[in-house]
């Protein structure tokens, strides 16, 4: 029983981790808060749903389509919510603009598909896997594997490639990085693209795992992932992954052995405590967060 809950928690947590990593990239590298990120996640779910149900694509097509679509939405977001605003003068305006973008995305989905959940099915049944007492559906396992692969690949990109080096340079000091010849413009765009692609993958995978997608999932998962980013450490990639997986397990256990609402209280209580006591997060380096806020 407990093993099953932990496995379910890992599945849920992989969604949080994927979304939180997107927040972390944008916040950590660019010092920007993107409050539309949860709605990009939701859009991924709906794009996947559209490709499966209306365009009748196979599962892999829907997953790839959702990733590409959400990546494009994220690029559009950068174009309308961040690029037109002088970021050195206005710190609050871009955050508010992303809230506007989130409203637009959410309302578009509500107007097109309505506010009730839509059923999402991969069309693969009877492939459940049993390990001891733990039962895992094929779709859930697929989702977990894809999420883990994406995170490992991203970790390698950040640590091992020239692009990743550029990203870390901008995170450290954008002005100096630019002076030293880092193509800031390109890296900002790619960062938004990657963050959207990950959110899109998380969106369709979560829709497949739960069997449905609804307009309010963006707010729900988006906010929890935001808390995950803070708890894991603003700008810390590993922290976001770890805190996301832990939150997934905690939430599933809270629902199984207590009340779902207490799970939420734990999330927000931890967020407040972390911000007050250790703003750099549980896994972040203190020097990183205290510098610019």
């Amino acid at each position: 029983m407990l093993e099953q809950q932990v496995v379910n928690g890992l599945m849920l947590g992989s969604s949080y981790a994927l979304v939180a990593v997107g927040y972390t990239l944008v916040f950590g590298v660019l010092k920007l808060l993107n409050l539309a990120h949860g709605e990009v996640f939701m859009s991924g779910g709906y794009i996947g749903f559209f490709l499966l149900a209306t365009a009748e694509l196979p599962v892999w097509g829907a997953i790839v389509g959702a990733m590409v679509g959400a990546g494009l939405i994220s690029l559009l977001l950068e174009r309308v919510s961040f690029r037109p605003i002088d970021l050195t003068r206005y710190e609050i305006a871009p955050v508010l603009s992303t809230i506007g973008f989130a409203l637009v995305l959410q309302q578009l989905v509500v107007r097109i598909w309505g506010s009730t959940p839509e059923p999402v099915s991969a069309g693969i049944a009877g492939l459940d896997i049993r390990v001891g007492s733990v039962l895992i559906s094929f779709v859930s396992l697929l989702g977990l594997v894809i999420a883990l692969v994406l995170m490992v690949v991203l970790g390698l990109v950040i640590r091992r490639t020239g692009f990743g080096r550029g990203m870390r340079a901008i995170a450290d000091d954008a002005e100096v990085a630019e002076l030293l010849g880092v193509n800031t413009r390109r890296i900002v765009l790619v960062t938004f693209g990657i963050s959207g692609v990950l959110a899109g993958a998380a969106g369709i995978l979560a829709a497949l795992r739960t069997g449905s997608v609804a307009p309010n999932v963006g707010m729900d998962v988006g906010f929890k992932a935001l808390a995950v980013m803070v708890i894991g450490g603003l700008g810390s990639f590993e922290g976001a992954v770890l805190a996301g997986l832990v939150l997934g397990i905690v939430e599933v256990l809270a629902v199984a052995y207590g009340s779902a609402a207490y799970g939420d209280a734990v999330v927000w209580g931890t967020l407040l405590l972390v911000l007050l006591a250790r703003p750099s997060g549980l896994f972040g380096e203190p020097a990183h967060a205290s510098g610019r806020a």
């Binding site: 609050i92 508010l96 506007g100 409203l103 637009v104 209280a265 927000w268």
Partner: protein, 289 residues
């Protein structure tokens, strides 16, 4: 006056108060995305005081406002070390925690909601608006008001000029909390039934929207935003369905072309400046003459 007009005027008044609550915090350059949390403290606080302590709405509203001011000061304290986006995250956390707390509090009905004794009248709402307006006018011409503007521009520079930044920031949160809670109490006294869902993040966003679309720099802008956004859906039929889509698109558009909001400090002076220079030119005293 028709019932519909009366309702609209009450809602406009309440939303103006809520907008001013957020404006007071923004005046020091701090973004609060948890103002609905203070509104909830006002609504539930006043409701409990009326139902269980037998208070009338006005004293209940003032007591709940004071409690919210205390909560605001507590939330403002971390502002000493958290700035900008970190502070915005903290206020989101505060707002969500209030909603989750209320949803779990069986005594006030949990998620289902809580019935509140009434008492909100059109006169009370606009009387309160008038009082807060006078306060804002006085504030904008006082040393404290200037200190708040200075902190908003550059808090390090303000501190070097002798402004007590800590005091100003914490006070801004306390004042904003008080005004938002008063708005929340009037809201509860008008609705007669409140739920945690009335005070969620979406409500906080709506409140900030009033201020931001109108203008972040003046209380006139905040009030104008509340008036226009509250009456627009009533005046234009058919907009109701697309209301939030339009709000979202407007927000993106306004931030892109005018990040300080539609009505800024200079905007209010501009007509006077133009009129004065015209008058001067007519008298032949202008720089051109």
């Amino acid at each position: 006056m028709s019932e519909a007009t009366r309702t609209l005027l009450v809602l406009i008044g309440i939303n103006m108060l809520l907008a001013w609550g957020a404006y007071l915090v923004l005046k020091t350059g701090q973004l609060s995305l948890g103002q609905a949390g203070f509104m909830a403290i006002g609504g539930y606080g006043a409701g409990l005081l009326m139902a269980e302590r037998g208070l009338a709405l006005i004293p209940a509203m003032l007591v709940a406002g004071t409690i919210a001011a205390g909560a605001g000061a507590l939330l403002g304290l971390p502002a000493l070390r958290l700035r900008g986006l970190y502070l915005a995250l903290l206020t989101i956390g505060f707002g969500e925690l209030v909603v989750v707390g209320l949803a779990n509090w069986e005594h006030v009905g949990g998620v289902a909601g809580y019935p509140v004794p009434g008492g909100t009248s059109l006169g009370l709402v606009w009387g309160t608006v008038a009082v807060v307006l006078v306060f804002l006018v006085v504030l904008s011409r006082s040393r404290l008001g200037w200190a708040m503007d200075a902190v908003s521009e550059d808090d390090v520079a303000a501190a070097s000029l002798g402004v007590n930044v800590t005091y100003v920031k914490v006070l801004a949160f306390a004042l904003g909390g008080f005004v938002s809670a008063v708005g929340g109490a009037l809201f509860a006294g008008y609705q007669l039934f409140i739920q945690p869902g009335n005070f969620d993040f979406f409500q906080s966003v709506l409140i900030v929207l009033y201020v931001v679309l109108g203008g972040l720099e003046t209380f006139v802008g905040a009030a104008a935003g509340a008036i226009v956004l509250t009456s627009l859906p009533e005046l234009i039929r058919g907009l109701e369905e697309w209301r939030f889509f339009v709000y979202g698109a407007l927000l993106v558009l306004v931030m892109a072309v005018r990040p300080q909001g539609l009505i800024a400090r200079g905007t209010l002076r501009a007509p006077f400046v133009v009129a004065r220079s015209f008058a001067r030119r007519r008298r032949g005293e202008g720089p051109m003459a």
